[in-house]
């Protein structure tokens, strides 16, 4: 079986598995990193959202063979400051607004929110309602309004 290596939450990891195994299952089934959640497996629900080299991506739809040894993947477990353990401002905002209900979608929501804010910053655009409307992450508990409020709070502190 081919060996695949990449950087996960700041640490180099490697796994032996078939090329087509999707990154979500490398993380969850082989490495035991369970923050990213399964909600569809077809890049629709966004529950699995993580970052690759700082950008949001959906590991359920990326085969491990597409990941290079130099790629840095960040899951929700790696979002807080790795040394101090201090939560990311977006996580803090989530706590402040008590966003989570069942919590199943929330790792994906937070990772998507961080990427959206970074993207808007880079492009110099305003995070208005139309931009937030573009978030595709499902929350079946219906926490959408609190998510929007928390993103504004989190963005302010990022």
């Amino acid at each position: 079986m081919p060996e695949h290596s990449f950087i996960l939450n700041g640490n180099r990891v490697s796994v032996d598995t078939e090329d087509n195994v999707r990154v979500l299952w490398v993380l969850r089934d082989l490495l035991g990193v369970t923050g990213p959640k399964y909600g569809c497996g077809i890049n629709v629900c966004k529950a699995c959202t993580c970052h690759i080299n700082g950008k949001a991506f959906n590991p359920c739809s990326v085969p491990i063979s597409a990941i290079k040894p130099s790629d840095e993947i960040t899951t929700i477990e790696g979002l807080a400051d790795q040394r101090s353990g201090k939560l990311h401002p977006m996580q803090e905002a989530w706590l402040e607004h008590d966003v989570a209900q069942c919590g199943y979608c929330q790792p994906g929501q937070i990772m998507a929110a961080v990427a959206l804010v970074r993207k808007a910053r880079a492009a110099g655009t305003e995070l208005d309602d139309a931009e937030l409307d573009k978030l595709r992450n499902i929350c079946r508990c219906g926490t959408y309004t609190r998510i929007r409020e928390a993103i504004h709070t989190g963005a302010k502190n990022m």
Partner: protein
């Protein structure tokens, strides 16, 4: 059944190394004699005895014990015989314990109890009954523990317990003495079990204050563990290949050996619901499921489509009584499509079945019937089976059932290995449980502004209440003063309270026994029944030229209902000037000893209806603003209540505007979240305000489902007012299929490989 005022709580000090207090659950409400004596002949049973009472009465004779334990380190533990699926019950229970003991919420450890068969009907999370049923028992146990700790401290300090206080977990007494409460946990423990009683606090200081969820930190750091996140040695990913029709069984598998030899695959077994595949990763499972060539036997509803089911509902519709002489009538028929109650966490369970024992992990709202069926499936005595209740990633009715737990049991037994069984999303929509299709027919007789009678016939495909409520209700059937009713009809009668004084009121349920997989969906019948009723009320207001809020106010039976109507009118600016194509709408719902009013503003202007959405998805009219007022009797955690109402609003919007299943030859066409249009960010209101009414009774009512029905009514009425045409078929977009259905064979889609082209 309001009217309990303060009372003494009874409980037991257990013989244990550190303090442990046990109390019965359910007993507080045991008064079947009174209840049945008070029942009227008019079947508005819900007004006097609602589902919450019914569940409590069912639980009463068997009431097992639940226990609060105090450890030497000052932590207090409680194993809650309920499920946490996002509704916040663990947080609310933490508050109750912290309240009575005067300790920080961070010192309370609430866990979910394993299935405890001795609790019989008392381990059911459903009907929004949890807070109602657990409120007094938990406070009782904690109050007694407090008493025991104070007694122990008083004994050691040679003083009287009445002179001691507890603040933030520290006991203080005369002469400046103080010590952490945990230091008396041993001394306070019983040497023999004995009965004790205590009074709850007269003036609670924590109950009623907004608190954040106890698991919020775990949720935002990815540490919160759901079933699929648990590590059980040897439990490898397992998925099931399912048929092209609901309940299709396996005839034969053509390429078993070939698929077994695929990379990563460890085991394959035919089980009653399909072909189970166990493999090293979920990708391997998906590949194997897609590769299987199976000849399927027929299912149970192969010929049924939306149109055929609708025709069957029409066919069983009983005739309405003729209009009353001299009266005018409002006649109405309201249709709702099938809808999926799929949670974001798909059906899943871990099972480790051995020849002599079994262990199961799953999010279960009715773990006791699950336990019994799992034992039967495993061929073991119930005592050889342990069923662990895990926190669930949403429920919405799903987790009253244990479909995945049974499958996992069967697969693990057949393979002789532990399995971590998960449903694919597509299966969760197509083979998972659905909310029944329904038609509600209403006739309202009135003479001018005087409403003489209200008749509602509710026709629906049969709802499976079997696993959870079934046991509780069956055990109560003979105790109710209603003859010849099925338990679904009893359920209907006990949940459909009529909030308006509409003269002679008669609401009945008629079901077609079609074999779909059904269940409740954030409420059992109410969203459809109440939604239809609120449309009738709106039509009456229009016909009489009355303000529709004022009309609701004037017919409301309860002052509580008038108060929430006034509150939403004030906060939501009822009657304000709105541009053409937009409108306000209002709906109310009364259930679970609670009531709720919702006021929405909808935008049906073409530029909004046709707003673009990137990639797949539907838009349509948008609810821009929602104002909710909710009265749950005793609001334990207002912040949690607000969260639940927020969810209810999004559910109600989906049911009216966008979300449904299209049944086609025995299978829903929907197979993804981009087919089943639950409310998304681009459809959610930009402004939601929830007002939690201050305490109005002594009993906390239910809330988890309450707001959905009121929202359905509000959104439907707003749409009618904005467009000038009252909608009667829901969701309004059901007539258009807005997606390309996934194939039936193979049953699940392949995962894409182009994810890196869509980063942002």
């Amino acid at each position: 059944m309001a009217g309990h005022s303060r009372r003494r709580f009874l409980g037991y000090l257990l013989a244990a190394p550190t303090l442990a207090v046990a109390v019965p659950v359910g007993e507080e409400f045991a008064m079947p004699g009174e209840a049945s004596a008070a029942l009227p002949s008019n079947p508005e049973i819900a007004d006097l005895l609602d589902l919450s009472d019914l569940l409590n009465l069912a639980a009463a004779p068997t009431s097992g014990l639940v226990a609060v334990g105090v450890q030497a380190d000052g932590t207090v533990s409680f194993a809650l015989p309920r499920a946490e699926v996002g509704q916040g019950i663990t947080t609310a229970v933490t508050m109750l314990i912290a309240e009575e003991l005067d300790i920080g919420m961070d010192k309370v450890r609430v866990t979910l109890a394993d299935a405890r068969p001795e609790l019989l009907c008392n381990q059911l999370t459903g009907g929004s009954n949890s807070m109602h049923s657990i409120y007094h028992p938990v406070r009782a146990a904690a109050a007694i523990a407090r008493l025991a700790l104070l007694d122990a401290a008083a004994g050691q300090w040679g003083t009287d317990a009445s002179r001691l206080t507890i603040t933030e977990g520290v006991i203080s007494g005369p002469g400046g003495r103080s010590a952490p409460l945990g230091s008396f946990a041993k001394a306070a423990a019983g040497t023999r079990t004995k009965q004790l009683s205590a009074e709850p606090k007269k003036r609670p200081s924590l109950i009623g204050t907004p608190q954040s969820r106890i698991d919020a930190h775990d949720a935002v750091t990815g540490r919160k563990q759901f079933t699929m996140d648990l590590r059980v040695p040897g439990a490898l990913p397992t998925m099931v290949c399912r048929g092209p029709h609901i309940n299709a069984g396996v005839g034969s598998v053509r390429n078993l050996a070939e698929v077994r030899a695929m990379p990563g695959v460890t085991d394959i077994a035919v089980i009653s619901t399909g072909v189970a595949v166990r493999a090293n990763t979920t990708t391997h499972c998906i590949d194997a499921v897609r590769a299987l060539r199976v000849d399927w036997r027929g299912g149970t509803v192969d010929g049924e489509t939306d149109a055929s089911v609708r025709a069957e509902l029409r066919a069983i519709t009983p005739p309405m009584p003729p209009p009353m002489p001299g009266a005018e009538t409002i006649d109405l028929e309201v249709d709702f499509a099938f809808a999926s109650n799929s949670a974001l966490e798909t059906n899943c369970a871990i099972a480790d079945v051995r020849p002599d024992r079994a262990e199961i992990w799953a999010a279960l709202k009715a773990p006791i019937p699950a336990h019994n069926e799992i034992a039967a499936k495993a061929g073991l005595l119930p005592t050889a089976v342990r069923v662990h209740v895990v926190q669930g990633g949403g429920s919405f009715g799903r987790k009253l059932f244990h479909d995945a737990a049974l499958e996992a049991t069967e697969a693990s037994k057949a393979m002789g290995k532990p399995v971590k069984l998960m449903w694919h999303r597509t299966d969760d929509f197509r083979h998972g449980r659905v909310h029944p299709m329904s038609t509600s027919k209403i006739r309202l007789n009135h003479s001018g502004e005087n409403v003489l009678s209200y008749e509602q016939r509710h026709m629906a495909t049969q709802l499976d209440l079997g696993h959870g409520f079934g046991d509780a209700i069956t055990s109560m059937l003979d105790k109710l003063p209603v003859a010849d009713l099925t338990f679904n009809q009893v359920f209907f009668l006990t949940t459909q309270a009529m909030p308006y004084d509409f003269g002679i009121t008669n609401q009945t349920l008629h079901e077609v026994p079609l074999k779909f997989h059904t269940s409740s969906m954030r409420n059992v019948y109410s969203p459809n029944v109440t939604g239809a009723r609120e449309i009738a009320v709106e039509m009456l207001a229009k016909k009489l030229g009355k303000d529709s809020l004022e009309l609701r106010r004037s017919f409301a039976k309860e002052e509580r209902v008038r108060a929430i109507l006034d509150k939403v009118a004030e906060l939501g600016e009822w009657g304000k000037e709105m541009p053409p194509g937009t409108a306000q709408g209002i709906g109310i719902h009364v259930e679970y000893k609670s009531c709720c009013a919702v006021l929405v503003e909808i935008d049906c202007r073409p530029e909004t209806v046709h707003r673009p959405v990137e990639e797949e998805g539907v838009t349509g009219p948008r609810v821009m603003r929602a104002t909710v007022a909710v009265d749950v009797g005793v609001p334990v955690n207002p912040r949690g209540l607000e969260a639940q109402m927020l969810g209810c609003v999004n559910d109600g919007i989906g049911l009216v505007l966008t979300e449904s299943l299209h049944m086609d030859r025995g299978l829903p066409l929907e197979g993804s979240w981009d087919n089943f249009f639950y409310t998304r960010q681009w459809n959610t209101p930009l402004d939601v305000r929830v007002f939690v009414m201050p305490k109005t009774t002594e009993e906390p009512g239910g809330a988890g489902e309450l707001g959905v029905a009121a929202t359905v009514g509000a959104v439907a009425c707003a749409y009618g007012r904005a467009t000038g045409t009252m909608p009667t078929s829901f969701p309004i977009n059901h007539g258009t299929l807005s997606f390309e259905p996934l194939p039936r064979v193979p049953p699940i889609p392949q995962s894409p490989t182009d994810g890196l082209e869509h980063t942002f």
